[in-house]
């Protein structure tokens, strides 16, 4: 058998120095932000029963999940999403907590990505879930928290985009068509694949709705898209459009004006979204770095109906951008190396703590000779070496 003990599996990787520092920096900034808004951190297991993600219907494509079995042969998956485990946790463990419940997390999620397109199968997400709260107040809080999350993450410009799950769902409900067609249309709208969408929609009987669906992926940008949508849709999904108008206009009066756009073509593949949808982009990063939305019917699946909204930040994408911008360093070079002469080994270790207490980074020399210690300090670029013996002497390099 071929031995693979020197490489990592496809889609998985090591994070060294500045990459790892950048990850930690993003996590810390986001956790602090979430905590300051009253969110409490939770940890869920990396392995869950597959049923959490597939009942009553798959919220995530089954082929995208890493699967294994437990001792009783039951199917487990490496969590491909965090919202569902949090919904499970909230519904089963927090029934008696006063609502709303504000939860936050930093967790790894796992997804099988096809091919060699450079995407990672293991990524870290930090996010919040606001459970037991419906309506505008909760949505505005989440939108502002999302904007602040992007702004604490990096020095660059960002953009938040909002949409509404009921727009697509409302239009589709008017069509009397099968699930496969709906999924094809959804995918074509999601990928703004105009040409193929036209072909698909030409086959539909209800050409009035088809005409609206055809325009849907074009409807992104400022407030003007809502006017066009309202003119197109008439009464269909009027509530959702009115709600988006209300939210959008409210945000225009704040510092978020100019940073929030609309995209009525946001049609998420996660089936559990019911209301406001949001996405975030950082200038300079080619991927969606934040996504989320309202999922008012999800908790019901776990026996505890309550409205909820949340979002997650893709920490890896943000950390990558921070590294590119040189915004993190790979750990400081120690200020001093401490060598203990034979018989003074412990004194050297203790002397390190003294220097550390002064705010320095001190490294204990594990070499047996002074000459070797000097050589090592030169290699590493450590500016000073201290010799601990009957007396203490410091030498600059």
């Amino acid at each position: 058998m071929k031995i693979n003990n020197k490489i990592t599996p496809k889609g998985f990787r090591d994070y060294l120095f500045e990459e790892s520092e950048a990850q930690t920096a993003v996590e810390n900034r986001l956790s602090a932000l979430f905590a300051s808004r009253g969110y409490h951190s939770v940890v869920t297991p990396a392995l869950e029963f597959m049923d959490v993600f597939t009942c009553p219907e798959p919220a995530i494509p089954i082929e995208q999940m890493y699967k294994l079995t437990d001792r009783n042969g039951r199917l487990l998956v490496l969590r491909p999403d965090i919202t569902l485990p949090i919904a499970r946790l909230a519904a089963t463990r927090l029934q008696n907590m006063p609502r709303p419940v504000r939860l936050c997390y930093t967790e790894k999620v796992f997804k099988v990505n096809p091919g060699l397109n450079g995407r990672r199968d293991e990524v870290t997400q930090s996010g919040v879930e606001l459970l037991g709260a419906a309506g505008k107040r909760a949505d505005l809080e989440i939108l502002k928290t999302a904007a602040d999350a992007l702004s604490v993450c990096g020095a660059t410009e960002f953009k938040i985009e909002i949409g509404h799950a009921a727009v697509f769902k409302g239009l589709i409900a008017e069509l009397d068509t099968d699930g496969d067609t709906v999924e094809r249309v959804r995918r074509l709208i999601e990928s703004k694949c105009y040409a193929a969408l036209d072909d698909e929609l030409d086959k539909l009987e209800n050409q009035k709705i088809a005409g609206i669906l055809r325009r849907l992926p074009h409807l992104f940008g400022g407030g003007e898209v809502l006017e066009e949508a309202a003119a197109l849709c008439g009464d269909i999904c009027g509530d959702a459009l009115q709600y988006l108008r209300d939210i959008y206009d409210t945000l225009q009066t704040t510092s978020l004006a100019g940073r929030v756009d609309l995209d009525l073509g946001l049609v998420h593949s996660n089936t559990y979204y019911t209301g406001l949808l949001l996405r975030g982009y950082l200038f300079g990063s080619g991927v969606t770095v934040l996504s989320g939305g309202r999922y008012d019917h999800l908790l019901q699946q776990f026996g505890e109906p309550m409205p909820a909204i949340g979002f997650a930040v893709e920490n890896d994408a943000v950390a990558e951008l921070l590294c590119q911008q040189g915004a993190v360093d790979g750990g400081r070079i120690p200020d001093v190396l401490v060598f203990g002469e034979p018989g003074y080994e412990m004194q050297a270790v203790l002397y390190c703590t003294e220097r550390i207490a002064q705010g320095q980074i001190a490294e204990n020399s594990v070499f047996d000779s002074w000459a070797q210690s000097l050589e090592y300090a030169k290699q590493r670029g450590i500016p000073a070496v201290v010799r601990v013996g009957a007396s203490i002497a410091e030498e600059r390099i």
């Binding site: 091919g115 397109n117 450079g118 953009k159 703004k192 992104f220 995209d263 982009y281 080619g286 991927v287």
Partner: protein
């Protein structure tokens, strides 16, 4: 400062017609026509790179380039997250299943063997039909495989059908039409909307649509 918009063009078949479109848009294409050894070529306000078709998709998906021109054949074979916003109507051809003339590909109960350069397209096509086939990936002339008795049929790009005829093959069924498409990085379209939409509008006008 924001970097210039980067456009990835597919080398080869689509290259010439893409450059023609750029010229119609009024872009100065001298750098593109006298490439020399430079890899990133300035064209008007844009930077253009020439790449192999599959790489165009990778560049766009990862955000290394903002806009790409690539054939539907390559898009269908790879998977990825990007916007496919425009059908340029150039480089038209089609994917088709072909088999030796006079043979009935669908007859009999034996599992058929199919040779192709596009295993994802071929398996998607047969899965949709609910048909088990054995797919063999071939890099060069796929038409050779049935002649050598390696395969019962092929899934390949067909332009005029003359190569098929010369090799005693015929189209059994068309799978999908192919033409050059414009693809855009997801974040670019949102964060640089005005610039990209302006380019797309001018390109669409040049393509005469």
């Amino acid at each position: 400062m924001m970097r210039r918009i980067r456009i990835a063009l597919t080398k080869g078949r689509l290259e010439k017609s893409s450059v023609e479109l750029f010229k119609k848009m009024g872009l100065d294409c001298t750098a593109l026509e006298n490439k020399g050894r430079k890899l990133i070529l300035p064209v008007g306000d844009y930077d253009v790179v020439l790449a192999k078709a599959a790489d165009v998709i990778t560049y766009i998906e990862r955000g290394a380039c903002d806009i790409g021109i690539v054939g539907k054949d390559t898009i269908a074979e790879s998977s990825g997250e990007f916007y496919e916003v425009l059908d340029l109507g150039i480089g038209k051809c089609r994917f088709a299943l072909a088999a030796p003339q006079g043979s009935d590909f669908f007859a009999g109960y034996n599992v058929k063997t199919v040779a192709t350069k596009y295993p994802a397209v071929a398996s998607g096509y047969f899965e949709a039909k609910g048909m088990d086939v054995q797919i063999i990936k071939i890099e060069g002339s796929v038409e050779l495989a049935p002649l050598l008795g390696l395969a019962d049929g092929i899934v390949d790009i067909v332009e005029t059908g003359s190569t098929l005829r010369e090799n005693g093959l015929q189209v059994v069924e068309e799978i999908m039409p192919i033409s050059a498409r414009v693809i855009v990085n997801v974040a670019s379209l949102k964060t640089r909307k005005a610039q990209i939409e302006d380019f797309l509008k001018r390109l669409e006008a040049a393509a005469g649509m």
